[in-house]
Symmetry: C2
Subunit: 413 residues, 2 copies
């Protein structure tokens, strides 16, 4: 049985490599059923941009790229059931190692069958390394040394320590399919010398992450992303891209790109990507503004994760397609809490085809907000996630047809 599965899987992977223009949807249907180790296949490369479609294959199924990966910080997409997430048709989610390490703890999740079983999400899962949260939630409260970081829990002020080895061990227990090397994240304002010193440390941590990962991952159930850092300095980004690409990571992440200033961020990523092998899949950490998705897909980024759609949903921001008034200027969104929607009988976005837009009016959803009703969070989060999923579907379709730039022009103007 096992042999059959393996050989079938191999056959399909070979097939996908041979027939680059086959519809990713068709491939996905065949691949998703099969247990397999990590692979990344480019299914179509646009000739006049770096945008490409691809398939990341994991033991829990495949991800059609370019993909937006919603964030399930504490092993739940806030206010959304896994059933609803499946309805929206997401291929994967990303959980935060820092939060899950502190609560409920990696041993509990491991004992309950790892993240997928714990949260009843049976498709691919990413975990980040915990680094970003240690540094961002512990501003001034964490102590860095060459070995790792000592930090204070934001929950109960207890003391904890992360090292590359510990992060790998935690991520092994959490059991995500796609995990990240432990790195140091810097504030965007960090100067050259601070960034340079931090980069040296991050590179040493990358090597130690990889070495521990190789020991823990004998069963090949996980794949490891190395992370390119280097702050706002082109030469450091270049140095990092070369260093990380030279190590034997399965895939490449790019960290500490905050999306602003826009042009500078773009140039940093564009420059770094020159030194990363085309065939590796690339994840841009924490990015998710609509215009950024277009910018970085064009440069060859395959996956993005961001809390934006759900976090903004909970305070009343609704994403809008260009046909419904979404523009770069209004950041593709409106506030549903606005008085003017009090009696509005239209859906959140009349051109959206999601369950929420097919079912409810703006007036009803605004009422839920005014009445402090929990259903508000579910409905707005659902719509915003469906908006992101559809943008990515359209991006994938446009790349397959070599019309990505036309789509981009319709969205970003």
């Amino acid at each position: 049985m096992k042999t059959t599965v393996k050989s079938t899987n191999k056959k399909i992977q070979n097939t996908t490599k041979r027939t680059l223009k086959i519809s990713p949807k068709k491939i996905k249907r065949s691949v998703q059923q099969l247990p397999s180790t990590f692979s990344f296949t480019i299914t179509h490369q646009e000739s006049h941009t770096n945008a490409r479609t691809g398939i990341i294959s994991t033991p829990h199924g495949s991800i059609n790229t370019p993909a937006f990966i919603p964030v399930a910080t504490q092993a739940t997409i806030k206010a959304i059931t896994p059933q609803q997430l499946n309805e929206i048709n997401f291929d994967a989610i990303l959980c935060n190692t820092y939060h899950l390490y502190l609560r409920p703890g990696p041993d509990i999740i491991n004992n309950l069958g790892k993240l997928q079983k714990f949260m009843a999400w049976h498709k691919p899962v990413f975990t980040d390394s915990g680094g970003f949260q240690v540094f961002s939630l512990n501003d001034g409260l964490c102590k860095i040394d060459e070995e790792g970081v000592t930090f204070t829990s934001h929950i109960d002020q207890s003391k904890h320590r992360f090292t590359p080895e510990i992060s790998m061990q935690i991520q092994k227990k959490l059991g995500a399919d796609l995990i990240f090397a432990f790195d140091q994240c810097l504030d965007i304002t960090a100067d050259y010398n601070t960034t340079k010193a931090s980069l040296t440390r991050t590179h040493a941590w990358a090597q130690r992450s990889l070495s521990t990962f190789n020991k823990l991952n004998k069963d090949k159930s996980q794949a490891l992303y190395g992370i390119i850092q280097g702050g706002r300095f082109k030469e450091l980004r270049e140095e990092s891209a070369k260093f990380i690409s030279n190590l034997n990571f399965d895939a490449i992440g790019i960290g500490s790109i905050f999306g602003d200033p826009k042009e500078e961020s773009k140039q940093l990523v564009e420059h770094a990507l020159k030194f990363v092998p085309k065939e590796k899949t690339k994840h841009l950490l924490g990015i998710g503004a609509v215009e950024d998705l277009f910018t970085y897909v064009e440069l060859g980024i395959d996956t993005f994760d961001c809390v934006l759609p759900t976090r903004l949903a909970r305070v009343g921001y609704i994403f809008l397609r260009p046909e419904s008034g979404g523009t770069l200027q209004n950041r593709y969104r409106c506030r549903i809490t606005n008085e003017k929607f009090k009696q509005d009988p239209t859906p959140l976005d009349p051109r959206c085809t999601c369950y929420v837009c097919k079912t409810f009016t703006k007036a009803y959803i605004r009422h839920l907000f005014k009445a402090n009703e929990l259903l508000f969070y579910t409905l707005t989060s659902y719509h915003n996630l469906a908006f992101f999923q559809r943008v990515m579907e359209e991006i994938r379709e446009s790349i397959e047809k070599d019309t990505f730039l036309q789509l981009k022009k319709r969205w970003v103007k």
Copy 2:
């Protein structure tokens, strides 16, 4: 077209009356498709108890009775989508007139196509009269006169007035299928003279409610419940039962039964029901403890509404079937927030077949609680509602088989 529908509908109603033992499920499938005015048909009467199964037919479909009606105070079952409520298989919900009158207001709901369209619940809806909330949320802040009640909004302290006529007009605009006469609700400790005076008022208001209703309801789209009051005094309950039954209400509600003390409550309802025609459908307002469902179904009550399953869910109480440890002593519930469930890999109730119990573990749901995650409210509310729905399904099945008392014995001991 209209004629065809009417005659088909009449035919089906006649059929249901002739063949009393036909499975309610089969009848429901035929009836539910058709627009119709209100009717109540007893499909099976147990010979040795007053328990009966029946079908309440409304323009938005039918309700298999005995039924538990979940409460959607502000036009939403808290944390649950209408899709999920359909999955659980509820036939109807109850909304609160007081809350919806204050926010978003009856005109907005009317303009948006009435309650069903507003909240995307296309099955039967009840609204209460607003009386209970005026009196219970405005303790000492409402002024009663013979004409009606002046009260202060709990939202913004603005002044408002309800009379029987106003309540009927509001409920017309809200557009529920099944509505209630405006009554005065008393504290359970009210003495005889206070209760007697209040009952006289409630009876005058019942007549005015009915008179206004008859003017507003020319299209027969709504049905009106008269409400029996009378506090804790048997003779006043009897007087009220006779008075309300003599008026031309479509159905009968029983108000101000708080379920405690248990024996006294039961005797009051039992006594009142002696004076209510068997053929009328009867609703017991605000009752929903598991043992009470059995007590009052046995006496001939057809429908119940209560916030219990969802309100308790939000603070972590999980309902348990007897096979899973639910007893009269533990009130058929446990607290999922308990430390002992930290690593528990079993479902909330191993004998429950709902989506939540088929999908998630106690450990995961407890984690959501500890982590203040919104999904907690959805999952616990879903399970508790499914628990109530299944109890009622089992009650209906047992009545059809004349085995209600055996079922009751398995549950209440």
